[in-house]
Symmetry: C2
Subunit: 780 residues, 2 copies
């Protein structure tokens, strides 16, 4: 069984290309996910033009949630626009048959174009050269371009092309759409409509084809075919030896949820999308792709490029890969939407938003593209009604953010019941939606983090304070008084470490809850004193005076697990008293979850074994609260017990390891983080890329090796590059200025490229510095 | 492009085997449909164990109709039990790869077993012999057995088997089920449940595997896997060179609509089906298959065999093929169900019942297996409420049977709107459900036909009279008075010839309507005179006295199109005045519908061109009404204008041609009728077999060449064999006796094998005969 091999590109494209050099139908999911195209509006898995058994053809459009009977809401799989079935002399083209030579498939991260090349041959028609290109436009978010070139090298051939729109796709069997209309306009433009069954969102897709032989446009004989949920053309062409047949397929998709289409009637939406495809069709594939590549350059690479000059090229590729996907997955165009745990690259986690956004992806945007960070937080603001509903339904006050979040009004969308245990038949209750409550602190942290890094007072006035206050109100209502100990506790939760369920006083949860209350009290005082108008408005809306009294009455009695005699902070009330076993074999695993081949979840609950960073995340968020000594002791205690079975674990550990001077380990963890999607394990990305892990790769680089942190509102820059790195260069937005940070083994160079602030204050290794134009600090 | 080639079997199996000798993934639908397995309870398309792009994996269970949002009700595609994915040394087994030798796939019509054999090889693992066997039991209607044998001939191999239950299947994208439970019992029995979304029918499937190497049972390492709508085991085994690995997969499916399960709760249904699979599992594939084969022998072949001794073996195979499918398609176990236009072999026509049943399939059962005929008519009786509703909704009286019929209470289920015209975007109204009203006469005809052939007075008392009376009441209310002509007309209909829509006074419709009224009036008089109790009961229920007055007041004024000066009966008021064109090129077509490459439906309406038999069917049903002269003139006029674009056309024409002495033509039409499914056209059966055509094949043989007809209630036997036939032998049920009819070129031999009647009266070439034990009549 051969694995795919990755290539990084050469020459000008060096470290811009994710490449596979072998076709293996056992691992279709890998390429579909990691080579996924998109623009935050739509995500298109890179299933090939020709179909294979085992493929997952998904096109997901951000925010278009729908509920199938009895299930939780999810992003529906829209009608497929990319399928192109090719027959050569009557035989269906498939890479499972014939001979393949010079195969390569390349995703160009710089241009967003996917390219597939090979020579296919058999004895009947000899060698045929194929090239497939496609992109999802970053300029026109609705647009998909495809271009197929077929050159018979030895014989004349007859080519039949079947291509159109296929609405027979589903979400692994669940059908979210009623069948709509099928139309052809001007004997050329195919239109297909569908409507979600429960949320009643109209989708309109259009597609059109253009044919050239040796660069001369030709009109093949064509026959329109309609099937259930499917409409396509059959085209027949003859191609002579050494002629090149080029098929361009230009497609678009619009929905009634699109902001620009909200006011259109269904008929107007059809008309609008048709006009769009007509316009784009005249422009043609190459020009449309150039426009999209230019958008990538203008919006992303010219502004956000990170340079890693390392002995190992893979690392430069990995950070670009992460940035590419952070663009593809993020609905930056619409603040009513957020990022799903698998982005828009697969059906995993149903497109739902988790704490992953605030803790793992948001930092990237805060420092690299702050307007996107703002949009993501505005989404949380727009879901406050749902968060209040959730708190109320649970008997609490204020706003409790849902563990899983989808459309604005949905509130909690975590499924309540998971798969049944196949043996007992009892469905396993999914507890996260009920008791993994730290997400409320995480949203507050993200809000504060963005504010402190951006100084965006307008956002705070409109959204931020309200989030912080109402979450504090939730926390005070969530606290439980322990009469015996005379303390407030938080009982029966899941912390970030999901191998421990129904635990009491999870350190992460208690610390961040108290921190939220403190933050709220500080802002209460600050606004009351300095911003009476705003204060009065918020006071009226959120009943601040009364809530402040409640906050104040409880805050000093909240139980915070303190370091014990060995400096170890108990992760929860019972963790440290559980059995310790040898975890070596599970630590060096190729596939995550190997622990569960020997133990079940109930047993895991009774062993000192962790899925992922828990206290370590707390150290990163609230690092000013803990001494290095405590951090080191806890690292040494907990890391060996942590299996990193969540993709949310490695980057946190990498960053902290770097802080603690565990440099080799830090580098090793970074490499493992890069490998989560891009590495050689061929099955882990099947359900989609790991959004948080890709944010985590950036965190390793900038928070870890770059040493950038916001601590108590202040910028700190303590870089330590891996030995193998010569240089690291990255952009950093701070207080409205764009800094260019340049780190080598012996120098830290910072330039303020925008100079909106007269001076930027930051600390470096305990000293405070002021940046005017630029500053150079010797390292080592 | 190579077509499949058919083989007929040899030796003992001669003319029992439908065989393909080549694998071609372009034509998967052909084999899936024509080799479909089933038993009237369930129909299983013969998609292969391993999946291919382009396959249609359907398992349809009779009567389990469900409506997807905004669509008409259809038979839902139940969770797939047959998929078995095989990996050899880590590579997925697929016939698209490697080398295939000695390929054959055989459906044994005698035993109902499907068998697939070949040697698959590549350079890594050498030659491997594969054998796949499966059956759907005719003994336990819920049971599916599969057996896979794998013998590596040159090297030791590692085999991985993925097999279980897959509920991700849909009806061409429409999902009719909510996801249910997944369970494993005794680490062996997999159970999967699903429920239809609208009709709330529970389906419970179970499957279990057994492994042997060289006939020793082995327990491979196994791992249960759950996915969305899917549960399966991964099994790993090592097989040495020349050892044979055998995998048996025994599966079942039960639904809450099953008569035997109606009173079970959901939990009881699960338990019941589990007990069933446990019992069957201990019996094992070979014994289960023997039991099923014995049921085929006992219930079908020992009782219903038809022998054709012809120079061409294909014809013997074709009649067996027709009989096989007539069993597979027909829900003989449950009189709440009827036959779909594609049986249970595909999604075409959604499992709906048409006039096809009474006119094309029912005759087979009337004469070959009368209890099934009765059950099919009881279905119509049980749908009378829906038929009355339909009449009432249309402003008529009595009972109007729906053009398309599904579950008992559904009434009319013909979709009202067809696909939109892709150019104009205007959906085409489907008129059949509104105006193809002759189905009401057809049901009456079937009722009367069964009664006259069976003498089943109990059926008539319980069901038959009521159908006949209430349909007569419909017809009298449907008649429209033409003041000018002083006649009753039937305006704005579609007759059997569907190339003419919105026509007036279709001969078939008017004649059969009047015939229905006459029949009702006769029975009214008869019952009133001789069966006062029954009469009073029916009179009270159906208001017979009043209705009789209405019937009587109109019957003599019903307009019946009469033969013109050329003896031609106008098919409708305008047919004969339409344009006549040269249809030669469309008459000799390989694919039906070629006419519409040159004309559209509107143009067809203005040309003397017919899709199918229209007046010809009338001649068959009411043949006593028309002279041979008239029949011949109309044949000579209409047949050349008939494209036989419906599979309902050939058998009628074949039978009539034989009557008229057009022997070669008759034989030619018979062969064409046999070819509709079994012939070399590889695409026509994709959506399922042609149920009416298969009944038609029997009609060609028994009504045509056998010359058997019920005319005005009397048995007539006028055989004329094709030149190439030596002998024809067939069973014939008449008035409760089973006759054995033996026809050669020079003798007609009839034996009464049961002798329930002292004498059987029949006519032959105008003379009346009486059959006691047996009778021999010289022919020629």
């Amino acid at each position: 069984m051969s694995l795919m091999k990755y290539d990084l590109g050469h020459g000008q494209e060096k470290n811009w290309i994710v490449s596979e050099n072998d076709f293996n139908s056992l691992f279709l999911g890998k390429g579909e996910s990691i080579m996924c195209l998109g623009n935050g509006y739509l995500g298109l898995r890179s299933a090939t033009e020709e179909k294979y058994v085992g493929e997952t053809r998904d096109m997901l459009i951000a925010g278009t949630f729908n509920k199938f009977d009895g299930e939780v809401t999810e992003l529906p799989n829209a009608a497929d626009l990319t399928e192109i079935t090719i027959f050569i002399n009557g035989e269906r083209f498939s890479l499972l048959q014939g001979e393949i030579k010079n195969y390569s498939r390349n995703l160009n991260l710089k241009t967003g174009e996917l390219n597939r090349n090979f020579i296919w041959s058999n004895k009947d028609f000899g060698k045929i050269k194929f090239e497939f290109k496609r992109f999802v436009s970053l300029k026109n978010l609705h647009l998909i371009g495809q271009k197929v070139s077929i050159t018979p090298l030895e014989k004349n051939i007859e080519v039949k092309i079947q291509s159109g729109i296929n609405g027979q796709v589903s979400n692994t069997g669940a059908q979210h759409f009623t069948e709509g209309e099928k139309r052809v306009y001007d004997s050329k433009y195919i239109q297909y409509t569908q409507r979600t069954t429960e949320s009643n969102i109209d989708f309109v897709s259009n597609t059109v084809h253009k044919f050239e032989i040796n660069k001369e446009e030709v009109s093949p004989s064509s026959l329109i075919v309609m099937d259930r949920r499917k409409v396509y053309y059959n085209y027949d062409l003859s191609v002579k030896e050494n002629e090149t047949l080029v098929i361009e397929k230009i497609s678009n998709v619009f929905t009634s949820r699109d902001k620009e289409c909200e006011k259109l009637s269904y008929e107007e939406l059809k008309e609008f999308s048709l006009e769009n495809i007509k316009k784009e069709y005249t422009i043609g594939y190459e020009e449309l792709q150039s426009e999209s590549a230019k958008a990538w350059e203008d919006k992303i690479w010219s502004k956000c490029s990170i340079k890693i000059d390392s002995q190992n090229d893979y690392e430069q590729l990995a950070i670009r890969f992460a940035q590419y996907h952070l663009v593809v997955m993020t609905p930056a165009h619409d603040n009513r939407m957020n990022i799903g745990a698998k982005g828009l690259s697969g059906e995993g986690y149903k497109g739902h938003t988790f704490w992953d956004t605030e803790i793992f992806m948001l930092p990237y945007f805060i420092y690299t593209d702050p307007k996107v960070a703002k949009s993501l937080l505005e989404y949380r603001y727009l879901t406050l009604a749902g968060a209040r509903k959730k708190a109320k339904e649970n008997g609490y006050e204020g706003a409790q953010f849902p563990w899983e979040s989808a459309w604005l009004e949905d509130g909690e969308v975590t499924p309540e019941w998971g798969s049944a245990d196949v043996i007992t038949g009892k469905a396993e209750k999914i507890w996260t939606g009920f008791i993994e409550i730290h997400v409320t602190s995480d949203v507050v942290y993200g809000t504060w983090h963005y504010y402190k890094a951006s100084n965006d007072q307008e956002f705070m006035d409109n959204c931020g304070y309200e989030i912080i206050f109402d979450c504090a109100t939730f926390w005070q209502s969530r606290l439980e008084w322990n009469e015996e100990k005379q303390i407030f506790e938080i009982i029966g939760v899941i912390g970030p470490d999901e191998y421990k369920e129904h635990i009491d006083n999870n350190a992460f949860t208690n610390y961040t809850a108290k921190w939220n209350l403190e933050l709220a009290m500080n802002y209460y005082n600050e606004l009351k004193e300095n911003r009476p108008d705003l204060f009065n408005k918020l006071n009226e809306k959120l009943n601040l005076d009364e809530n402040f009294t409640k906050w104040a009455s409880k805050i000093n009695k909240i139980y915070l697990p303190k370091p014990n005699e060995d400096n170890i902070i108990p992760q929860d009330d019972t963790y440290l008293s559980k059995e310790i076993i040898d975890l070596t074999k599970y630590k060096n695993q190729t596939n995550i979850g190997s622990f569960f081949k020997d133990y079940n979840m109930k047993q895991a609950n009774e062993i000192q074994v962790s899925k992922q960073a828990d206290i370590m995340v707390m150290f990163l968020l609230l690092e000013g609260l803990f001494s290095e000594e405590v951090k080191r002791a806890n690292w040494d205690y907990y890391e060996p017990k942590t299996l990193h079975d969540s993709s949310l674990s490695l980057s946190t550990h990498c960053t902290l390891a770097n802080d603690l001077g565990y440099n080799e380990l830090s580098y090793d963890l970074f490499r493992k983080a890069c490998d989560i999607d891009l590495g050689p394990n061929m099955k882990t990305s099947d359900a989609g890329i790991h959004a948080a892990s890709l944010g985590g790769v950036w965190q390793c680089v900038v928070n870890g090796f770059g040493g950038v942190r916001m601590i108590d509102g202040k910028l700190r820059i303590n870089p330590t590059l891996p030995n193998t790195w010569n240089k690291l260069e990255f952009p950093l937005h701070w207080h409205g200025d764009l800094l260019k940070i340049n780190v080598s083994q012996d120098e830290l160079l910072i330039e303020n490229t925008t100079k909106n602030n007269e001076e930027i204050v930051f600390t470096h290794r305990g000293n405070e510095y002021k940046l005017y134009d630029n500053i150079s600090i010797k390292l080592g």
